[in-house]
């Protein structure tokens, strides 16, 4: 399994699309590692700079994250930057499936819970850790801790644990 613990990057906007996560001009790369310097390069978000992605493991954002292209380069660009967890109100279908197919987490939480995360933690030094078996997010900030439950389908959880869909499918079909 991948690492699901670390610092949190808050992106306070809905509809962050795949072209913002990794622009098409980098789709000519044929290694994941080559995508590392260009994550979120075209993100339209006042105050955001590329340096904000450094040393982060989790993204917390709003609605419809990852809309647009089918490019799995979007999860890969996150992965090679050490970010294996995105927590949002909702995801675009292809992006969400790509995350789980790569053994990464795309966790949906209700709007009010996401609102609370932004209110309580955005701008602070905060870490989150995903408890894969317990379906919980452990949050630590200011010496205090909080735990949030989340739901994940059996299929998605299996993909995270088995490290992806290819091995599973080859074995079963």
């Amino acid at each position: 399994m991948k690492n699901f613990k670390g610092n949190v990057l808050f992106l306070d906007r809905s509809d962050i699309n795949t072209d913002e996560i990794i622009p098409a001009k980098y789709l000519t790369e044929i290694t994941k590692a080559a995508l590392q310097p260009n994550l979120l390069e075209d993100l339209v978000l006042p105050g955001f700079s590329r340096a904000d992605t450094k040393d982060k493991a989790v993204i917390v954002t709003r609605e419809n994250f990852g809309c647009g292209s089918s490019r799995e380069h979007a999860p890969w660009a996150l992965e090679v930057n050490g970010i294996n967890v995105v927590i949002a109100e909702s995801f675009a279908r292809i992006f969400r499936q790509n995350m789980y197919n790569c053994g990464m987490f795309a966790i949906e939480l209700p709007k009010q819970t996401i609102d609370g995360l932004f209110q309580n933690y955005a701008g602070k030094a905060v870490t989150m850790e995903i408890d894969v078996d317990g379906n919980q997010i452990k949050i630590q900030a200011d010496g205090k801790s909080e735990t949030l439950a989340f739901k994940v389908g059996e299929f998605d959880q299996t993909l995270v644990k088995e490290g992806g869909w290819v091995g599973y499918a080859d074995k079963n079909y």
Partner: protein, 428 residues
């Protein structure tokens, strides 16, 4: 309770349901292009699984950057080409025979009613125009598709859109789908199929239906779907005439791929579109849509006519009708990319290429290129493009560029005036 077409296709293709709401479907087609497939190929090779489930069901094309623009894109093409040869994938369309995937695959008769289709490309939803379930997927799903001929989906609910009335002259499928995306919003159809139905769709050509279904993804939709009918059969006839005794027989067979009258829908939306105006996007989201009239006069730098949305012969004919005998503004440059070699040839024969060239357009070979800012018409910082493509995301056609999505008629009108313009101005 009746079933939707998507349910019927799922039922006919389900090979397993390993977990609740996880439907593993047998695939009729796996489509491939040189951007998302090479990584799947190299990953399969690295796993010691360089196999394909059925070379006759895999179709591949080099379309995004063609001819190659640099060593990296040359390498992507080479990986796909070598793989197609190695596995005897006969339907591989290389430079000279290649076109935009979602235009060339239907044109070759590869899409049929009731099929399941995946491709590592979000606009795969286009093929639902034939009454197929066609979905964009990522590279990992593509790997499994290539290897095993299956793909897992959560069950998609369906939004049914009923379009009544009659489109005004100068208003096209593109205007209609922009209006629908505005109504649905960019995630209004996430995890859902969008059925396009009603007399307006019944009267549409396959080309127009493909334009509608192509942009289902811009509302988050898994697939756009139109019911197969006589127009579908006529389009496919050359490819299916050995399978059926008559067009009536084909129609009868395909009628199984129509939703039941009592099927259950997530939403049913009915629009009378008789008063619909030509539409255009503003901003960086495809649901930011206005009428052309609201932003007419907005200056543009480049016009682009092409793509899997609007690069088909019908689109070129519509644009040529506006452009005939006119010159493009001195303040713009204009590019047209016929979506396939066959479309290019038809446009040549019909004198359409000449009209474009006389007007001052650059005519490129068939390619996706400019639509996603990869080649053949990338914008400079601060430039504005009137484009018949499908995405206006920030940086889509070039870093710092602005894209206004519109119909081929509106794009042609913008080429003449150098500003966003209602094509009505140029009606005889």
């Amino acid at each position: 309770m009746g079933k939707t077409i998507a349910e019927k296709i799922f039922d006919a293709h389900r090979v397993d349901e390993p977990f609740p709401d996880t439907h593993v479907l047998k695939l009729d087609r796996v489509f491939c292009h040189e951007i998302t497939t090479p990584i799947a190929i190299t990953a399969l090779m690295a796993r010691g699984m360089d196999r394909v489930f059925d070379p006759t069901k895999i179709k591949a094309v080099i379309d995004h950057v063609t001819p190659a623009k640099d060593s990296k894109t040359a390498e992507q093409g080479k990986i796909l080409r070598d793989w197609a040869r190695r596995h005897e994938i006969k339907d591989f369309f290389d430079i000279g025979k290649n076109g935009v995937c979602h235009a060339i695959f239907p044109e070759k008769g590869f899409v049929r009613p009731g099929y399941t289709i995946i491709m590592g490309d979000s606009h795969t939803c286009t093929h639902g125009a034939f009454g197929a379930f066609a979905a964009g997927i990522g590279t990992t799903d593509l790997e499994v598709g290539i290897l095993k001929g299956v793909c897992a989906f959560h069950f998609p609910k369906t939004i049914k859109i009923v379009l009544t009335g009659q489109l005004k002259p100068g208003v096209y499928a593109k205007d209609l789908i922009l209006f629908i995306i505005k109504e649905l919003t960019v995630n209004g159809a996430t995890n859902m199929v969008i059925e396009f139905t009603g007399p307006v769709v019944d009267a549409m050509s396959m080309e127009s239906r493909m334009t509608l279904c192509n942009m289902a993804i811009e509302a988050g939709g898994t697939c756009g779907i139109c019911y197969p009918d006589r127009i579908t059969v006529d389009y496919l006839w050359d490819f299916i005439k050995d399978e059926f005794a008559s067009k009536e027989d084909a129609l009868k067979d395909y009628s199984q791929w129509v939703s039941d009258a009592d099927a259950e829908y997530e939403r049913v939306l009915e629009y009378n579109v008789s008063e619909l105006q030509p539409m255009v996007t503003v901003g960086y989201k495809p649901d930011q849509v206005r009428s052309i009239a609201e932003i007419s006069g907005t200056k543009v730098d480049q016009i682009y006519i092409g793509s899997c949305t609007n690069g088909r012969i019908e689109d070129l004919r519509i644009a040529a009708e506006v452009l005939k005998g006119k010159k493009i503004s001195d303040n713009v440059r204009a590019i047209v990319s016929p979506a396939t070699p066959a479309i290019y040839s038809m446009a040549l024969t019909e004198g359409i290429i000449e009209i474009f060239q006389d007007a001052g357009f650059c005519v490129t070979n068939p390619t996706c290129g400019a639509c996603l800012g990869m080649s053949n018409g990338v914008l400079a910082e601060g430039e504005v493009c009137a484009s018949t493509t499908n995405r206006n995301f920030n940086g889509r056609m070039g870093k710092g560029g602005m894209v206004h999505l519109m119909s081929p008629a509106s794009a042609a009108a913008a080429a003449i005036t150098g500003v966003i313009t209602n094509s009505d101005l140029f009606k005889a």
